[in-house]
């Protein structure tokens, strides 16, 4: 293995990369990384001086009363506040995990949508030891088993299609060491069995056999429009984020979601078709 050692030993961090990192160390980093905290500190410290007054005005402009917790939350690079809903991105248009169930005794067809969304979560604040993420009311997480820094994973108990994916661990809650940021899939899930959105249900009742039922289910046309409507009508997903600090105290903030219909051109959706398609956009804000 001596050749291995010699080769690896030739790898060095480029000096310009080290210099770039050190530049960050020596610049006024708090202003750059977490402006609202730095400004807040300055505003409290300078009560009388004109400079402090000027900084205090800036603090109001930056914070705008949107940060009542001691930590900030960003998801997919968008900061989530108590202000307006912000768009985090769109659900995977072809998203796996949707399905139908035919109850031959009741002649009821239920339809469910489980749509994946990659969530780049960051919870930042001074002195955070660990952060616990918990979802409820129509959502669950998909985690890569053994992700470093993750502990206390509470499994998602419902049987869904994604549960068959051995590369995904389904959970309703997990805790992350404060040193890590984790990027789980956030999966929204809604089911209805009233026939309101399931356009095939009348056909099902006409035929009413296992075989025809299976045929109708197979031919069901999945729709992002229906998915969006069902998510807004049947679920009220919430993401509770609890930061536990090194001094033992904890704070919880709740993120709520809504869904909107967006449009992408065909080639982004399906290379075979060059027409507009509906996508489901995910929006989020902090619960007040």
């Amino acid at each position: 293995m001596s050749q291995y050692y010699r080769t690896i030993n030739k790898i060095h961090a480029p000096q310009e990369q080290i210099d770039k990192a050190l530049d960050r160390v020596y610049q006024p980093r708090l202003e750059e990384i977490r402006p609202q905290k730095a400004w807040r500190g300055k505003a409290l410290g300078g009560l009388a001086a004109a400079l402090a007054v000027a900084v205090g005005i800036t603090a109001i402009a930056v914070s705008s009363g949107t940060h009542s917790a001691g930590f900030s939350i960003t998801a997919n690079a968008a900061e989530i506040t108590t202000g307006d809903f912000v768009t985090l991105g769109s659900l995977n248009p072809g998203g796996s995990g949707s399905g139908t169930t035919w109850d031959q005794n009741e002649h009821v067809l239920s339809i469910s949508y489980d749509k994946c969304f990659k969530l780049f979560l960051k919870c930042e604040g001074e002195g955070i030891e660990r952060v616990t993420y918990t979802v409820s009311d129509g959502a669950y997480f998909g985690l890569i088993p053994g992700t470093m820094g993750v502990s206390d994973v509470a499994p998602y108990s419902n049987t869904h299609f994604l549960a068959d994916d051995e590369h995904t661990e389904l959970a309703t809650s997990y805790t992350v060491d404060g040193a890590f940021d984790v990027t789980p899939n956030l999966i929204f899930t809604a089911e209805e069995k009233e026939g309101k959105y399931c356009r095939a249900v009348e056909d099902m009742q006409v035929f009413g056999t296992d075989e025809s039922g299976a045929k109708v289910i197979k031919n069901y046309s999945w729709s992002e429009d229906v998915c969006c409507d069902m998510f807004n009508e049947y679920i009220d997903p919430k993401l509770d984020i609890t930061a536990t600090y090194r001094d033992g105290h904890a704070e919880t903030r709740r993120v709520v979601f809504e869904f909107a219909k967006g449009t992408i051109m065909g080639r982004e959706y399906n290379e075979e078709e060059a027409k507009p398609h509906t996508i489901v956009e995910v929006k989020a804000k902090l619960d007040e």
């Binding site: 293995m1 050749q3 291995y4 050692y5 080769t7 690896i8 030993n9 030739k10 790898i11 060095h12 961090a13 480029p14 990369q17 080290i18 770039k20 990192a21 050190l22 960050r24 160390v25 020596y26 980093r29 990384i33 977490r34 990659k118 930042e124 001074e126 002195g127 890569i144 053994g146 992700t147 470093m148 820094g149 404060g178 040193a179 890590f180 940021d181 990027t183």
Partner: protein
Amino acid sequence: MSQFSAEERLETVIRQHADMIYRIAYQNTQSQADADDIFQEVCLSLLTKNPPLDDEAHLKHWLIRVTLNKCKNLHLSAWRRHTEALSDNILYENEDVRLLDEIRRLPKNHRNAVYLHYFEGYSAAEIAQLLGTKPNTVLSWLARGRKKLKEYLSD
């Protein structure tokens, strides 16, 4: 009280561990540009996450875990999946480039176990703790990784 400022201590940590961070990043990504990005992200985490700087062993473990996690996140990103890596052979002689290609072809766990054992000098038990697995599993990774590299080197 320490005679050094927080900035000076951070500078010492970055200079001391820069090569280790970069070596892990370079082996676990497909290009120098990716390794550069990972290096900067790890250094930024060092600034924002405030790990304890006084415990050298703990800090080194933390840096290794953060670097590996950043590499994993890079592989997961949608952007990464749809891009082709640009080759860069500017750092090495041909012999080194070919060996590095072989190292990158190893399964991720084998590659990292081999590096941590043969370069950083960690025991199987320590690597198991770092990578969140059992020592016997690490021994298996080491044996397979070493065998594949030896096969390549003997060709």
